[in-house]
Amino acid sequence: MNSESECVMANIGPNIGERRNVIIAMDGSDYAEGAFKWYMDHVHRADEDHAILLNVTDHRHSLTHGSAWMTADPKLVEHAVHEEEKKAREMEKKLEGYLIETGIEGQVVMVKGDPGPTVTKVAEEYNAAYIVTGTRGHGKIRRTILGSVSDYVVHHSAVPVLIYRQ
């Protein structure tokens, strides 16, 4: 069923036919990539799953522009926003690449917001069967076993959460 299309299966919409939606939280980190690969090899059901590669960009840090700590120079703000958009597009392409490479039934979903709550909210919106997440992502703090987003998701998700680690 997947062999016919080589184009990106993007934006088809939630709950296609009888397939169940699986959310795979991806931030572009190695952990996320590892989680996706493991999901592909060990968990993915080709005839049942619709994989949703979900990327959440935390846009709120850009709100520090115009505060006491940074100038509100419009050019700077514009530049920053432009850079963000560029990064988001690159991420989207990267995630679409995973879908194309593996040929699995799925779509890429890009959302802006607070990562933890956004992942759980999107999972609910798409009526996901479960969420796949790594133990951590891009975050800098390595003292905890579970990164802040994965920690949030596993504690607040309304659906089962699969925490990938190796």
């Binding site: 169940r20 493991w38 090899d41 060990h42 968990v43 993915h44 080709a46 069967a129 479960y130 076993i145 579970l146 596993v154 504690h155 607040h156 998700s157 309304a158 659906v159 089962p160 959460v161 699969l162 925490i163 990938y164 680690r165 190796q166």
Partner: protein
């Protein structure tokens, strides 16, 4: 698709959450050639001060409960068409037991409910799942309803 023969560890107790986790695994993750390890840690009693008669009674009660649980899950395993299911009874904390079995058997995945027999319901995640998430060396599926 990787070749088969996955080893799945599932913590089980008498709670309905345990059953839900098992059912969820069967409906969404089960593969024909999976080997299941069901880990159970029977409740510990402090035997130090017990008289022989009481001791005997307590042990009897524990054995009965364990056998009942074993039978219940054997039925479920058969119904699900799982070829190989092993029941592992261990002493000590459930979390530690689950992780120990998973390590020893080099399990591909651990399945745990979000809570079990515990009385505290204020948290979203019971102490066992919490322990397993933080100490497991393989992927962990935390089920919840």
């Amino acid at each position: 698709m990787a070749q088969g023969g996955r080893k799945i560890v599932i913590g089980v107790d008498e709670s309905e959450f345990s059953e839900q986790a098992f059912n969820f695994y069967v409906e969404n993750f089960l593969r024909e050639d999976d080997t299941l390890f069901l880990v159970h840690t029977p409740e510990r009693y402090n035997f130090v001060d017990a008289s022989p008669a009481v001791l005997h009674e307590l042990l009897d009660e524990i054995n009965k409960k364990v056998r009942a649980l074993e039978n219940k899950y054997q039925e479920k395993i058969k119904a699900a068409g799982i070829k190989l299911g092993k029941f592992v009874t261990k002493q000590g904390g459930p979390g530690e037991a689950i992780v120990a079995v998973a390590d020893k058997e080099k399990a591909n995945m651990i399945v745990t409910g979000c809570r079990g027999m515990g009385k505290i319901r204020r948290t979203f995640l019971g102490s066992v799942s919490d322990y397993v998430i933080h100490h497991a060396h393989c992927p962990v599926l935390v089920c919840r309803k």
